[in-house]
């Protein structure tokens, strides 16, 4: 039995709920047991670190303290989100590297009756545990419906293999863990040099011109290399490539259609699960056509909202494009 403490992170029951659903569906075949940290809080994403130091690290460390109290035969915390994984790993690492930080964070935690000794826990990402603990052989042995004929671009994202405080990954810029796992599922993995390039992170919300260019590179390259879809290990990557692809297309006047699914969704399909159990269909750039390459049929969902009958509706301001960009952001 493979037992771990589990830190889901906020997006797993909202924007990345398909990730949680598909993970739940593959737990049993993999004999994987995830015990959720009781009453965990948000890790602050990339936002809190840019405001102040001790509060940001105390927020993260509360989770480490709770997890350490809950240790029961395992000292490994698994996070499915790359940003959560990095924040937890970062707090653990820097509390050791800068003992003064560790002391202050512990002083803050003490106000809530908690404490954390850095190094107590092992912080790892879900795919790390699947590839290195459970192993590709076991994963391969559970495949009943190989993904033969599906061409995928393995998109690892940036915050997972970097900065890599514990040297967990095969490479910082071109790691092969995701490639190997997808190959074990029978998929055809294309060469994807941008695998650890950034999706733009929070820039989709605060600096769309920067984010759209980063997204365009990722999507255009996957498209040119003939991928049917991108596959990701991070809720933020999925959200940016999926939800902002329409706006990105409009911005550049392009017409890309590049679905992006979580690797657990493909694992579920290869294990013979139904698309509906895996949250397939909740992506905004539909993966339906891509999945016909492996004979998977996704039921057609109702399109949101009725089509407007007349072309002329309410007067609307002009849409955001690269020609109008930048005119409202500068204050």
């Amino acid at each position: 039995m493979n037992k771990y403490l589990y830190y889901p992170g906020c997006s797993m029951d909202s924007s990345a709920k398909a990730y949680q659903e598909s993970l739940d569906a593959v737990l049993e075949p993999l004999d994987l047991h995830l015990e959720e940290i009781d009453d965990w809080n948000c890790c602050g994403a990339t936002e809190f670190l840019g405001i102040n130091l001790i509060p940001a690290y105390s927020l993260i460390a509360r989770n480490l303290a709770l997890a350490a109290n809950q240790m029961n035969g395992t000292r490994t915390v698994v996070a499915p989100c790359s940003a959560c994984y990095l924040n937890l790993a970062k707090a653990d690492h820097y509390m050791q590297e800068r003992p003064a930080l560790g002391e202050k964070v512990n002083e803050a935690l003490a106000a809530g009756g908690l404490q954390y000794k850095p190094g107590t826990l092992d912080v790892r990402h879900l795919i790390d545990v699947l590839v290195y603990d459970i192993g590709l052989e076991t994963i391969r042995s559970k495949v009943t419906q190989p993904l033969t004929g599906l061409r995928v671009a393995p998109y690892m994202g940036c915050m997972l293999p970097r900065p890599d405080y514990q040297n967990r990954w095969s490479d910082h810029e071109h790691p092969t863990e995701l490639d190997d796992l997808l190959r074990a599922l029978g998929a055809e993995v294309i060469d994807y040099p941008l695998t650890t390039s950034c999706c733009g992170g929070h820039m989709a919300q605060i600096g769309p011109e920067t984010a759209f260019e980063l997204l365009r590179r990722l999507v255009a390259d996957a498209d040119e290399r003939g991928a049917h879809m991108m596959v990701t290990v991070c809720p933020m990557c999925q959200m940016n490539v999926d939800a902002y692809q329409g706006e990105m297309n409009h911005f550049f006047g392009t017409r890309y259609h590049m679905p992006v699914l979580f690797f657990t969704q493909l694992m579920g399909l290869a294990f013979g699960k139904k698309p509906a159990e895996l949250g397939i269909g909740t992506e905004l750039v539909s993966a339906r056509d891509a999945l016909t390459n492996i004979g998977v049929e996704v039921p057609v969902a109702e399109e949101p909202g009725a089509k407007r009958k007349k072309a002329e509706g309410l007067p609307m301001p002009p849409r955001w494009t690269k020609h109008t960009a930048g005119k409202e952001t500068v204050k």
Partner: protein, 198 residues
Amino acid sequence: MPHMTDERVRAGITHEEDLSLLNEVSMKTAGVSRLEMCIQCGTCGGSCPAAIDMDHTPRMLFAMLRAGMRQEVLRSNTPWICVSCYHCVVRCPQQVHIADVMYTLKGMASKAKLYRSSTAPDFSKTFVDMVKRFGRGYELGLVALHYLKHFPLRLPGMMPMGLGMVTKGRMPFVPHKIKHMDQLRKIMKRAKELELNS
């Protein structure tokens, strides 16, 4: 300015070296920043996917820190454009914690109110306010507040996306609140006091 020695004046040096800004940034950075180790090689800027949108590449910014150019550094958009992808961090031959230094500079610029666009600091603040209130992130509240204030013109184009997210159940209306908010509040209150005293 401290008194210049005759020797320095003869050598044509106009400024006394003042590393107080560099030291301050180092002190305020989470780990051991290694900022003073920068050899100005430029690997950071060359590795950066967003450098094209930056006022200064990280290398330039670090030279400015060393030169004590406080106003110019804190006014630079560079830390706000940084996407935290850590390409520069793993390539830096001197292991400078570049991304963490960027976080520190954002915090300093916010406190000094020296940023030029309020979009990014507001987003961070709104995000953190939600977390302080609920203990968890609240995407719907965050995007609604943020887009109305900063990107009203993007809203019509974003309607299909927003509607899709809501109808597909990916953006719940109600935030999730943690059980022990009182505990989290106490921790955050103490942390803030400790921050001010450091």
